[in-house]
Protein backbone atom coordinates (compact mmCIF):
# COMPACT_ATOMS: atom_id res chain seq x y z
CA UNK A 1 0.00 0.00 0.00
CA UNK A 2 1.31 3.43 -0.91
CA UNK A 3 0.60 6.74 0.85
CA UNK A 4 -2.03 7.76 -1.66
CA UNK A 5 -4.08 4.62 -1.07
CA UNK A 6 -3.51 4.94 2.66
CA UNK A 7 -5.11 8.40 2.64
CA UNK A 8 -8.19 6.89 1.10
CA UNK A 9 -8.58 4.21 3.74
CA UNK A 10 -7.42 6.08 6.81
CA UNK A 11 -10.91 7.13 7.90
CA UNK A 12 -12.55 3.71 7.53
CA UNK A 13 -9.56 2.29 9.40
CA UNK A 14 -9.99 4.70 12.31
CA UNK A 15 -13.72 4.00 12.31
CA UNK A 16 -13.11 0.26 12.09
CA UNK A 17 -15.17 -0.07 8.95
CA UNK A 18 -12.77 -1.99 6.84
CA UNK A 19 -12.16 -5.65 5.98
CA UNK A 20 -9.31 -7.55 7.63
CA UNK A 21 -7.16 -7.69 4.47
CA UNK A 22 -7.12 -3.91 4.08
CA UNK A 23 -6.64 -3.52 7.81
CA UNK A 24 -3.46 -5.59 7.68
CA UNK A 25 -2.15 -3.63 4.70
CA UNK A 26 -2.75 -0.36 6.52
CA UNK A 27 -1.09 -1.54 9.70
CA UNK A 28 1.93 -2.66 7.66
CA UNK A 29 2.11 0.77 6.04
CA UNK A 30 1.82 2.55 9.39
CA UNK A 31 4.94 0.78 10.62
CA UNK A 32 7.07 2.09 7.79
CA UNK A 33 5.63 5.57 7.06
CA UNK A 34 5.94 8.24 9.76
CA UNK A 35 4.06 10.85 7.71
CA UNK A 36 1.03 8.63 7.39
CA UNK A 37 1.39 7.65 11.02
CA UNK A 38 1.07 11.32 11.92
CA UNK A 39 -2.09 11.60 9.82
CA UNK A 40 -3.44 8.53 11.52
CA UNK A 41 -2.79 9.96 14.98
CA UNK A 42 -4.44 13.25 14.09
CA UNK A 43 -7.45 11.51 12.64
CA UNK A 44 -7.75 9.31 15.74
CA UNK A 45 -7.45 12.38 17.92
CA UNK A 46 -10.22 14.15 16.04
CA UNK A 47 -12.46 11.14 16.38
CA UNK A 48 -11.79 10.82 20.09
CA UNK A 49 -12.50 14.47 20.65
CA UNK A 50 -15.79 14.40 18.79
CA UNK A 51 -16.85 11.13 20.38
CA UNK A 52 -15.98 11.99 23.97
CA UNK A 53 -15.86 15.76 24.20
CA UNK A 54 -18.87 16.67 22.09
CA UNK A 55 -21.46 17.72 24.61
CA UNK A 56 -24.62 15.95 23.80
CA UNK A 57 -27.60 18.00 24.77
CA UNK A 58 -30.43 16.08 26.31
CA UNK A 59 -33.90 16.88 25.15
CA UNK A 60 -35.51 19.14 27.79
CA UNK A 61 -38.18 17.35 29.80
CA UNK A 62 -40.85 19.93 28.90
CA UNK A 63 -40.31 19.40 25.18
CA UNK A 64 -40.27 15.64 25.60
CA UNK A 65 -43.53 15.71 27.55
CA UNK A 66 -45.17 18.05 25.08
CA UNK A 67 -44.25 15.79 22.17
CA UNK A 68 -45.49 12.66 23.88
CA UNK A 69 -48.65 14.52 24.87
CA UNK A 70 -49.26 15.60 21.27
CA UNK A 71 -48.56 12.14 19.91
CA UNK A 72 -50.84 10.51 22.43
CA UNK A 73 -53.57 13.05 21.59
CA UNK A 74 -53.22 12.23 17.92
CA UNK A 75 -53.60 8.63 18.84
CA UNK A 76 -56.83 9.21 20.66
CA UNK A 77 -58.46 10.78 17.63
CA UNK A 78 -57.63 9.89 14.05
CA UNK A 79 -55.23 7.02 14.55
CA UNK A 80 -57.55 5.17 16.84
CA UNK A 81 -60.38 5.30 14.34
CA UNK A 82 -58.08 4.25 11.50
CA UNK A 83 -56.74 1.45 13.62
CA UNK A 84 -60.22 0.31 14.50
CA UNK A 85 -61.19 0.22 10.82
CA UNK A 86 -57.98 -1.62 10.04
CA UNK A 87 -58.71 -4.26 12.67
CA UNK A 88 -62.25 -4.54 11.39
CA UNK A 89 -61.10 -4.99 7.82
CA UNK A 90 -58.48 -7.51 8.85
CA UNK A 91 -61.28 -10.02 9.41
CA UNK A 92 -62.16 -11.57 6.06
CA UNK A 93 -65.76 -12.32 6.91
CA UNK A 94 -66.41 -8.78 8.12
CA UNK A 95 -64.66 -7.37 5.09
CA UNK A 96 -66.90 -9.32 2.74
CA UNK A 97 -69.96 -8.49 4.83
CA UNK A 98 -69.17 -4.77 4.65
CA UNK A 99 -68.52 -4.96 0.92
CA UNK A 100 -71.80 -6.81 0.42
CA UNK A 101 -73.65 -4.31 2.59
CA UNK A 102 -72.27 -1.37 0.62
CA UNK A 103 -73.22 -3.05 -2.65
CA UNK A 104 -76.72 -3.78 -1.36
CA UNK A 105 -77.26 -0.20 -0.22
CA UNK A 106 -76.00 1.04 -3.57
CA UNK A 107 -78.34 -1.34 -5.36
CA UNK A 108 -81.31 -0.18 -3.31
CA UNK A 109 -80.48 3.47 -3.91
CA UNK A 110 -80.08 3.17 -7.66
CA UNK A 111 -82.60 0.42 -8.32
CA UNK A 112 -85.34 0.26 -5.77
CA UNK A 113 -87.30 -2.91 -6.47
CA UNK A 114 -90.15 -1.82 -4.23
CA UNK A 115 -90.38 1.56 -5.83
CA UNK A 116 -90.28 -0.11 -9.19
CA UNK A 117 -93.10 -2.46 -8.34
CA UNK A 118 -95.26 0.46 -7.33
CA UNK A 119 -94.37 2.33 -10.51
CA UNK A 120 -95.23 -0.71 -12.55
CA UNK A 121 -98.57 -0.98 -10.85
CA UNK A 122 -99.44 2.63 -11.52
CA UNK A 123 -98.34 2.24 -15.11
CA UNK A 124 -100.71 -0.69 -15.61
CA UNK A 125 -103.45 1.23 -13.89
CA UNK A 126 -102.90 4.25 -16.08
CA UNK A 127 -103.02 2.04 -19.16
CA UNK A 128 -106.40 0.61 -18.19
CA UNK A 129 -107.81 4.01 -17.40
CA UNK A 130 -106.47 5.43 -20.62
CA UNK A 131 -108.07 2.64 -22.67
CA UNK A 132 -111.35 3.13 -20.87
CA UNK A 133 -111.24 6.85 -21.34
CA UNK A 134 -110.83 6.29 -25.03
CA UNK A 135 -113.95 4.15 -25.05
CA UNK A 136 -115.81 6.70 -23.01
CA UNK A 137 -114.89 9.50 -25.33
CA UNK A 138 -116.40 7.69 -28.30
CA UNK A 139 -119.81 8.00 -26.76
CA UNK A 140 -122.07 10.96 -27.09
CA UNK A 141 -122.16 12.66 -23.78
CA UNK A 142 -124.08 15.60 -22.53
CA UNK A 143 -122.10 18.75 -22.68
CA UNK A 144 -119.72 19.48 -19.81
CA UNK A 145 -119.55 15.90 -18.62
CA UNK A 146 -116.11 15.31 -17.23
CA UNK A 147 -113.98 12.26 -17.11
CA UNK A 148 -112.42 12.23 -13.73
CA UNK A 149 -109.76 9.78 -14.69
CA UNK A 150 -106.93 11.77 -13.29
CA UNK A 151 -106.12 14.61 -11.03
CA UNK A 152 -105.18 16.80 -13.99
CA UNK A 153 -108.57 16.31 -15.62
CA UNK A 154 -110.31 17.29 -12.43
CA UNK A 155 -108.11 20.33 -12.05
CA UNK A 156 -108.71 21.32 -15.67
CA UNK A 157 -112.42 20.99 -15.22
CA UNK A 158 -112.37 23.13 -12.15
CA UNK A 159 -110.32 25.86 -13.72
CA UNK A 160 -112.11 25.85 -17.08
CA UNK A 161 -115.47 26.18 -15.36
CA UNK A 162 -114.30 28.72 -12.86
CA UNK A 163 -115.54 26.51 -10.05
CA UNK A 164 -113.93 26.62 -6.69
CA UNK A 165 -115.59 25.01 -3.74
CA UNK A 166 -118.97 25.32 -5.33
CA UNK A 167 -121.90 25.62 -3.06
CA UNK A 168 -124.64 23.08 -3.49
CA UNK A 169 -127.16 24.59 -5.94
CA UNK A 170 -130.59 24.91 -4.47
CA UNK A 171 -132.22 23.62 -7.61
CA UNK A 172 -133.01 19.96 -8.30
CA UNK A 173 -129.93 17.87 -8.65
CA UNK A 174 -128.85 14.27 -8.89
CA UNK A 175 -125.56 12.64 -8.08
CA UNK A 176 -123.95 11.09 -11.06
CA UNK A 177 -120.65 9.87 -9.63
CA UNK A 178 -118.54 9.77 -6.49
CA UNK A 179 -115.10 8.61 -5.63
CA UNK A 180 -111.90 9.17 -3.80
CA UNK A 181 -109.01 11.01 -5.23
CA UNK A 182 -105.59 10.17 -3.97
CA UNK A 183 -102.89 12.29 -5.38
CA UNK A 184 -99.53 12.11 -3.63
CA UNK A 185 -100.35 13.31 -0.11
CA UNK A 186 -103.60 14.84 -1.13
CA UNK A 187 -106.76 12.86 -0.43
CA UNK A 188 -110.17 14.08 -1.30
CA UNK A 189 -113.70 12.86 -1.81
CA UNK A 190 -115.23 13.74 -5.12
CA UNK A 191 -118.84 14.15 -5.92
CA UNK A 192 -120.25 14.87 -9.34
CA UNK A 193 -123.81 15.99 -9.61
CA UNK A 194 -126.01 17.19 -12.37
CA UNK A 195 -128.44 20.06 -12.10
CA UNK A 196 -131.70 20.47 -13.92
CA UNK A 197 -130.17 22.58 -16.62
CA UNK A 198 -127.75 19.69 -17.34
CA UNK A 199 -124.80 21.56 -15.90
CA UNK A 200 -122.46 19.19 -14.14
CA UNK A 201 -120.83 20.29 -10.93
CA UNK A 202 -118.08 18.72 -9.01
CA UNK A 203 -117.60 18.92 -5.31
CA UNK A 204 -114.24 18.22 -3.85
CA UNK A 205 -113.78 17.70 -0.16
CA UNK A 206 -110.40 17.21 1.39
CA UNK A 207 -110.09 14.06 3.46
CA UNK A 208 -108.49 15.68 6.43
CA UNK A 209 -111.41 18.04 6.74
CA UNK A 210 -113.85 15.21 7.35
CA UNK A 211 -113.44 12.27 9.66
CA UNK A 212 -113.03 8.84 8.20
CA UNK A 213 -116.35 7.60 9.51
CA UNK A 214 -118.00 10.78 8.36
CA UNK A 215 -116.55 10.20 4.95
CA UNK A 216 -117.82 6.61 4.85
CA UNK A 217 -121.31 7.85 5.71
CA UNK A 218 -120.97 10.41 2.98
CA UNK A 219 -119.98 7.69 0.50
CA UNK A 220 -122.79 5.43 1.69
CA UNK A 221 -125.31 8.12 1.06
CA UNK A 222 -124.02 8.52 -2.41
CA UNK A 223 -124.03 4.79 -2.91
CA UNK A 224 -127.68 4.66 -2.15
CA UNK A 225 -128.17 7.07 -4.93
CA UNK A 226 -125.73 5.31 -7.17
CA UNK A 227 -127.24 1.91 -6.42
CA UNK A 228 -130.24 2.83 -8.49
CA UNK A 229 -128.00 3.34 -11.43
CA UNK A 230 -126.35 0.78 -13.59
CA UNK A 231 -122.61 0.54 -13.63
CA UNK A 232 -119.80 -1.73 -14.48
CA UNK A 233 -116.39 -2.17 -12.97
CA UNK A 234 -113.28 -2.34 -14.98
CA UNK A 235 -110.68 -3.20 -12.44
CA UNK A 236 -111.33 -4.20 -8.86
CA UNK A 237 -107.73 -4.38 -7.80
CA UNK A 238 -106.61 -1.14 -9.27
CA UNK A 239 -109.52 0.81 -7.87
CA UNK A 240 -110.32 1.97 -11.31
CA UNK A 241 -114.03 2.17 -11.81
CA UNK A 242 -116.25 3.17 -14.63
CA UNK A 243 -119.83 3.96 -13.98
CA UNK A 244 -122.51 3.81 -16.59
CA UNK A 245 -125.22 6.17 -15.56
CA UNK A 246 -128.95 6.08 -16.37
CA UNK A 247 -128.61 8.54 -19.18
CA UNK A 248 -125.76 6.51 -20.66
CA UNK A 249 -123.02 8.76 -19.28
CA UNK A 250 -119.85 6.90 -18.45
CA UNK A 251 -117.72 8.06 -15.58
CA UNK A 252 -114.22 6.85 -15.09
CA UNK A 253 -112.31 7.06 -11.86
CA UNK A 254 -108.79 6.09 -11.13
CA UNK A 255 -107.66 5.69 -7.59
CA UNK A 256 -104.35 4.74 -6.14
CA UNK A 257 -104.05 1.51 -4.25
CA UNK A 258 -103.76 3.40 -0.95
CA UNK A 259 -107.51 3.76 -0.94
CA UNK A 260 -108.11 0.20 -2.04
CA UNK A 261 -109.87 -0.72 1.13
CA UNK A 262 -112.55 1.93 1.03
CA UNK A 263 -112.82 1.56 -2.73
CA UNK A 264 -113.36 -2.17 -2.36
CA UNK A 265 -115.98 -1.41 0.19
CA UNK A 266 -117.54 0.93 -2.29
CA UNK A 267 -117.50 -1.69 -4.98
CA UNK A 268 -118.85 -4.35 -2.66
CA UNK A 269 -121.74 -2.16 -1.60
CA UNK A 270 -122.48 -1.32 -5.21
CA UNK A 271 -122.56 -4.98 -6.14
Amino acid sequence: MDCKEFQEYISPYVDNQIDSVKKNEIEEHLKICSSCFFDFKVESLAKRIVTFRFQKATCPEAIRNQIIFNLASQRSFSSKVINYIKVLFANKTIRYAIAFGVLLIGFLIFYNPFENQKEKYYYELAKIVYQNCKEIRNHNFPEKTIFASSHDVVMNFISSNGIKNPKMPKTQWSIIAAGIENYQNYQAAHLLFKCENDTIYMMECEMDKISHSGYLNFVKEIHKDLAKKKFFKVDHEGCSIILRLENGVLMAFAMSSDNKHSMNELIASLD
Binding site: D15, F38, E43, L45, I49, V50, K56, I63, N65, A72
Partner: protein
Protein backbone atom coordinates in the same frame (compact mmCIF):
# COMPACT_ATOMS: atom_id res chain seq x y z
CA UNK B 1 -48.98 25.90 30.14
CA UNK B 2 -47.55 22.44 30.12
CA UNK B 3 -48.58 21.94 33.70
CA UNK B 4 -52.11 23.01 32.91
CA UNK B 5 -52.49 20.44 30.19
CA UNK B 6 -50.94 17.94 32.54
CA UNK B 7 -53.59 18.54 35.11
CA UNK B 8 -56.65 18.64 32.85
CA UNK B 9 -56.38 15.85 30.33
CA UNK B 10 -53.19 14.12 29.66
CA UNK B 11 -53.51 11.25 27.22
CA UNK B 12 -51.54 8.45 28.80
CA UNK B 13 -48.35 7.40 27.07
CA UNK B 14 -49.98 3.97 26.88
CA UNK B 15 -52.14 5.40 24.10
CA UNK B 16 -49.09 5.33 21.89
CA UNK B 17 -48.35 2.34 19.75
CA UNK B 18 -46.22 0.04 21.86
CA UNK B 19 -43.63 -0.57 19.18
CA UNK B 20 -43.37 3.14 18.50
CA UNK B 21 -42.74 3.72 22.17
CA UNK B 22 -40.01 1.10 22.26
CA UNK B 23 -38.39 1.87 18.91
CA UNK B 24 -38.79 5.58 18.23
CA UNK B 25 -39.03 7.41 21.55
CA UNK B 26 -35.60 6.38 22.90
CA UNK B 27 -33.94 8.33 20.06
CA UNK B 28 -35.39 11.63 21.18
CA UNK B 29 -32.13 12.89 22.68
CA UNK B 30 -30.12 12.01 19.59
CA UNK B 31 -32.72 13.64 17.38
CA UNK B 32 -32.83 16.73 19.56
CA UNK B 33 -29.08 17.01 19.18
CA UNK B 34 -29.32 16.65 15.47
CA UNK B 35 -32.11 19.24 15.38
CA UNK B 36 -29.89 21.63 17.33
CA UNK B 37 -27.07 21.04 14.88
CA UNK B 38 -29.35 21.71 11.94
CA UNK B 39 -31.22 24.73 13.27
CA UNK B 40 -28.66 26.26 15.67
CA UNK B 41 -31.60 27.41 17.77
CA UNK B 42 -33.27 25.63 20.65
CA UNK B 43 -36.82 26.79 19.80
CA UNK B 44 -36.48 25.77 16.18
CA UNK B 45 -34.92 22.51 17.31
CA UNK B 46 -37.94 21.76 19.52
CA UNK B 47 -40.32 22.51 16.64
CA UNK B 48 -38.34 20.38 14.25
CA UNK B 49 -38.21 17.55 16.76
CA UNK B 50 -41.95 17.74 17.28
CA UNK B 51 -42.64 17.75 13.56
CA UNK B 52 -40.32 14.81 13.05
CA UNK B 53 -42.09 12.72 15.66
CA UNK B 54 -45.55 13.57 14.42
CA UNK B 55 -44.56 12.61 10.88
CA UNK B 56 -42.89 9.45 12.10
CA UNK B 57 -45.98 8.51 14.04
CA UNK B 58 -48.27 9.20 11.12
CA UNK B 59 -46.16 7.05 8.83
CA UNK B 60 -45.25 4.45 11.42
CA UNK B 61 -46.82 1.70 9.32
CA UNK B 62 -44.40 2.66 6.51
CA UNK B 63 -41.42 1.92 8.71
CA UNK B 64 -39.95 -1.49 7.87
CA UNK B 65 -39.80 -3.34 11.14
CA UNK B 66 -36.36 -4.62 11.99
CA UNK B 67 -34.50 -1.92 10.02
CA UNK B 68 -32.65 0.95 11.64
CA UNK B 69 -35.27 3.12 13.26
CA UNK B 70 -32.78 5.81 14.24
CA UNK B 71 -31.61 6.25 10.65
CA UNK B 72 -35.24 6.38 9.53
CA UNK B 73 -36.04 9.11 12.08
CA UNK B 74 -32.93 11.07 11.13
CA UNK B 75 -33.97 10.97 7.49
CA UNK B 76 -37.44 12.29 8.36
CA UNK B 77 -35.83 15.09 10.35
CA UNK B 78 -33.43 15.99 7.59
CA UNK B 79 -36.22 16.14 5.02
CA UNK B 80 -38.42 18.22 7.32
CA UNK B 81 -35.53 20.55 7.90
CA UNK B 82 -34.88 20.93 4.18
CA UNK B 83 -38.55 21.65 3.56
CA UNK B 84 -39.26 24.14 6.31
CA UNK B 85 -36.21 25.39 8.10
CA UNK B 86 -33.45 25.76 5.62
CA UNK B 87 -34.57 29.17 4.45
CA UNK B 88 -34.16 30.49 7.99
CA UNK B 89 -30.63 29.31 8.53
CA UNK B 90 -27.39 30.87 7.50
CA UNK B 91 -25.80 29.44 4.41
CA UNK B 92 -22.73 27.41 5.33
CA UNK B 93 -19.56 29.39 5.27
CA UNK B 94 -17.36 29.00 2.24
CA UNK B 95 -14.21 27.13 2.92
CA UNK B 96 -10.96 26.97 1.05
CA UNK B 97 -9.99 23.41 1.69
CA UNK B 98 -6.64 23.75 -0.07
CA UNK B 99 -5.66 26.47 2.37
CA UNK B 100 -6.56 24.20 5.31
CA UNK B 101 -4.52 21.44 3.73
CA UNK B 102 -1.54 23.79 3.56
CA UNK B 103 -1.90 24.76 7.21
CA UNK B 104 -2.20 21.12 8.11
CA UNK B 105 1.03 20.31 6.30
CA UNK B 106 2.76 23.14 8.18
CA UNK B 107 1.60 21.76 11.51
CA UNK B 108 2.68 18.34 10.42
CA UNK B 109 6.17 19.53 9.61
CA UNK B 110 6.43 21.41 12.93
CA UNK B 111 5.15 18.61 15.13
CA UNK B 112 7.57 15.81 15.29
CA UNK B 113 5.85 13.74 17.93
CA UNK B 114 2.18 13.03 17.14
CA UNK B 115 1.69 11.36 20.52
CA UNK B 116 2.30 14.62 22.35
CA UNK B 117 0.14 16.60 19.98
CA UNK B 118 -2.66 14.17 20.60
CA UNK B 119 -2.42 14.27 24.38
CA UNK B 120 -1.95 18.00 24.77
CA UNK B 121 -4.71 19.05 22.45
CA UNK B 122 -7.11 16.53 23.91
CA UNK B 123 -6.37 17.57 27.47
CA UNK B 124 -6.00 21.30 27.07
CA UNK B 125 -8.75 22.41 24.75
CA UNK B 126 -11.89 23.47 26.56
CA UNK B 127 -15.21 21.75 25.91
CA UNK B 128 -16.84 24.90 24.59
CA UNK B 129 -13.94 25.30 22.20
CA UNK B 130 -14.52 21.75 20.98
CA UNK B 131 -18.16 22.66 20.37
CA UNK B 132 -17.18 25.88 18.67
CA UNK B 133 -14.74 24.06 16.40
CA UNK B 134 -17.32 21.45 15.45
CA UNK B 135 -20.00 24.05 14.84
CA UNK B 136 -17.69 26.05 12.62
CA UNK B 137 -17.36 23.13 10.21
CA UNK B 138 -19.32 23.42 6.97
CA UNK B 139 -22.67 21.75 7.38
CA UNK B 140 -22.08 18.80 5.06
CA UNK B 141 -18.85 17.93 6.93
CA UNK B 142 -20.31 18.46 10.36
CA UNK B 143 -23.37 16.29 9.76
CA UNK B 144 -21.34 13.38 8.44
CA UNK B 145 -18.86 13.64 11.27
CA UNK B 146 -21.52 13.72 13.99
CA UNK B 147 -23.43 10.84 12.42
CA UNK B 148 -20.26 8.82 12.51
CA UNK B 149 -18.60 9.76 15.79
CA UNK B 150 -21.53 10.79 17.98
CA UNK B 151 -24.36 8.65 16.69
CA UNK B 152 -22.12 5.71 15.80
CA UNK B 153 -23.64 5.15 12.38
CA UNK B 154 -21.84 3.04 9.82
CA UNK B 155 -20.61 4.61 6.57
CA UNK B 156 -23.29 2.70 4.76
CA UNK B 157 -26.04 4.15 6.95
CA UNK B 158 -24.66 7.65 6.53
CA UNK B 159 -24.44 7.23 2.75
CA UNK B 160 -28.03 6.03 2.75
CA UNK B 161 -29.13 8.84 5.03
CA UNK B 162 -27.30 11.64 3.22
CA UNK B 163 -28.08 10.13 -0.16
CA UNK B 164 -24.45 10.32 -1.23
CA UNK B 165 -21.97 7.65 -2.40
CA UNK B 166 -20.04 5.82 0.30
CA UNK B 167 -16.77 7.20 -1.14
CA UNK B 168 -18.04 10.71 -0.52
CA UNK B 169 -18.83 9.81 3.10
CA UNK B 170 -15.26 8.55 3.46
CA UNK B 171 -13.65 11.66 2.04
CA UNK B 172 -15.93 14.02 3.96
CA UNK B 173 -15.09 12.36 7.26
CA UNK B 174 -11.42 12.48 6.41
CA UNK B 175 -11.53 16.15 5.50
CA UNK B 176 -13.74 17.05 8.45
CA UNK B 177 -11.24 15.55 10.86
CA UNK B 178 -8.37 17.40 9.29
CA UNK B 179 -10.30 20.65 9.49
CA UNK B 180 -11.16 20.00 13.09
CA UNK B 181 -7.58 19.20 13.97
CA UNK B 182 -6.38 22.48 12.44
CA UNK B 183 -9.00 24.47 14.33
CA UNK B 184 -8.24 22.75 17.64
CA UNK B 185 -4.54 23.33 17.11
CA UNK B 186 -5.32 27.04 16.68
CA UNK B 187 -7.23 27.11 19.94
CA UNK B 188 -4.43 25.34 21.75
CA UNK B 189 -1.94 27.84 20.40
CA UNK B 190 -4.03 30.93 21.08
CA UNK B 191 -4.38 29.81 24.69
CA UNK B 192 -0.63 29.91 25.06
CA UNK B 193 0.03 26.26 24.78
CA UNK B 194 3.42 26.02 23.21
CA UNK B 195 3.32 23.08 20.95
CA UNK B 196 6.96 23.43 20.06
CA UNK B 197 8.11 23.22 23.66
CA UNK B 198 6.05 20.17 24.41
CA UNK B 199 7.24 18.58 21.24
CA UNK B 200 10.83 18.98 22.44
CA UNK B 201 10.23 17.56 25.89
Amino acid sequence: MLQDTDRITRPPIENLDEEFRKEALPHMDALYNFALQLTQDSDDAADLLQETYIKAYRFWDKFEKGTNCKAWLFRIMKNSFINFYRKNTKSPEKLDYDEIEEIYETIKSNEQNPHNLDREIYDNVFDDEVMQAINSLPEEFKTVLLMCDVEGMSYEEIADFMDIPIGTVRSRIHRARKLLAVKLYDYAKSRGYNVDEIGEE
